[in-house]
Amino acid sequence: MRITQGTFSFLPDLTDEEIRAQIEYALSQGWACAVEYTDDPHPRNTFWEMWGPPLFDLKDAAGVLVEVVACRAAQPESYVKVTAFDSTLGFETTRLSFIVQRPPAEAGFALDRIEGAGRSQRYAMRRKDADGKRR
């Protein structure tokens, strides 16, 4: 199942040139980029592993791409994303975040029905492996 989170995730995967252009845009806005990766793309997992500290004071996208390439090489089975942090007063948050690598076989999610108190039904998303087996 194709994970859709962050910007552009409904589009085909970005090429390196497109990634460079997006990073250039982020830097031109004065945002600081960071590279993050995870093997758990659950939508509620907001804490991805950081690939090194955020990259402040860069002028050119090449500096971020170096880290993207290094992260992909070290984590070929993980999702990798680039986030762009805006430190201006009033924002102080991530303004842009997009996936730059997906694992060769993407995991899926299953919807579990859970009996709650009384007769209430609750639902939970559960990670499935690519072959459909539940984990």
């Binding site: 990259l55 004071d57 860069l58 002028k59 050119d60 996208a61 090449a62 500096g63 971020v64 170096v66």
Partner: protein
Amino acid sequence: MESAADRRNGAVPPGANAPAASIVAPPADTVALDALFRDSNIGETLDRLDRELVGLAPVKRRIREIAAFLLVSRAREQIGLSTGAPGLHMCFTGNPGTGKTTVAMRMAALLHGMGYLRKGHLVSVTRDDLVGQYIGHTAPKTKEVLKKAMGGVLFIDEAYYLYRPENERDYGQEAIEILLQVMENQRDDLVVILAGYKDRMEAFFRSNPGMSSRIAHHVDFPDYDDEELFAIAALMLDSMHYRLSASAQDALHEYVALRRAQPHFANARSMRNALDRARLRHAKRLFEERETPLSRDALMTIEAEDIRASRVFASAGEPQ
């Protein structure tokens, strides 16, 4: 002034007498070097270099040569004569205050204009910014600096301090290795300029042949002569909206000659410091006469006494 770039402009489209014409190319494949020159906007940068920097004739000549070479490389690329990306890393040698940093900034603008650098900013660092204090600290530090410099010029002042042969466990070597790797593999992304004293730089290259072989252009900065230093001082004062009275001009001429003989002489930087101190004395003098109203002229004019109060004159009078 006729420059190397201008001369070469005349040589293409293929003329008869220029060596460039020996390249056998069908006439349809001509490339307008002049248009390339105008588009790149480097003419203005080169003219500004000539206008705003006093002296430095050999440096200016080298920069024009480099600019012409890069422009011709661009032109060759356009007709499909591939030479591979030209090496752009440079080494500026010269005594303190001879304008290495200033020229490096102009060089960044020049390379940006010709499209060899995407951003054209200058990141100026020394050993402290590259080398860490404990094991595992150097690589991230060096890489961070390199990433900041990407798209522009990394200017490493006093680069020979990176290599400390007396301490075999010095982390400088690690920084050099990372630098070399990036200088080789990411030639499109950044240009490295090393700077420092000539003799120490040569010793550094002797012990790091890998560094030496990756640097294409060595530019030596000569010391300024007395007249040039005076002209530099005049330019500095002009940009700060000060001027020298006639007697102060004589005093400054004498000052330049005396200062040169003293230790720690740093060319243009010494002149800047001397002027800063003269401005202090000028302000003090005006402050002491604060009862009298000040004219615009008095606020602008540095008098001979402001310069002659320098200890350079005092020690010159003493028997050696």
